[in-house]
Symmetry: C2
Subunit: 137 residues, 2 copies
């Protein structure tokens, strides 16, 4: 919050400043308010002979992250219908710090070490959300 | 709901049937319950000279869809940080019918016709969600 210097010359001027200040903060675009979020697409290709085991481990990891970590906003994972071994995860963390905490959790470490021989490729794409406060109904 | 035939030979048997029936319906995996959802990744490349206009039109279309259509569960759009003209949208519709309704809305038609010369490529990838009832906190 910026400090507002109150003029001593009367009441009308400070009220005007306060009104403009309020308008500015109310119309600030969502993208600025939420710019601390980390939003990423993880694109994975899994060894298809181990796909079922991989999916079970990923599911366990996501459920633990969502339950235990306030800073994990979502980990929405999908498999392509035509290429089920191609997985994409929309990852939203409240902040870079929340992501760093996530990396050190026992459930993430269990997933990461347990699946390392199942993951044929992993691409991490940093992104900017168009509407940062978008939800799933 | 399947009809349960009540045996006339006593009370124990129908109660057992009812208990098994209840257990089956309670333990049904989420993926079956939600299998009517349509979950898709739309991957677009936009003409970078028109990116700002495109983003404004997409934002308007998404906000209208979320506000006016109960069957649009989310349209989470991201731009790649290193390639801002590369857009990915996680699209979740309540059903195939909800998607068909979406295609006929004035806001979708306005977006589709208004941006047709801005979209250099569009790939629609049908997917299966790992955890269909996943939300964004």
């Amino acid at each position: 919050m910026r400090k507002i210097k109150i003029a001593k010359t009367g009441l009308a001027f400070p009220i005007l400043i306060l009104t403009v200040q309020t308008l500015v903060s109310c119309t600030k675009p969502a993208v600025q308010m939420e710019s601390h979020q980390k939003v990423r697409l993880a694109k994975l290709i899994i060894d298809s002979t181990q796909l079922e085991t991989y999916q079970a481990m990923l599911k366990e990891e996501i459920e633990a992250s969502m339950r235990l970590e306030p800073g994990v906003m979502t980990l929405y994972a999908v498999a392509e219908k035509d290429n089920p071994a191609h997985i994409t995860i929309l990852e939203i963390y409240a902040s870079e710090d929340a992501y760093k905490i996530h990396l050190q959790t026992p459930h993430f470490i269990k997933y990461k070490t347990g699946t390392k021989d199942m993951v044929k490729s992993l691409e991490l794409v940093e992104t900017i959300p168009l509407i940062p406060d978008m939800k799933i109904k």
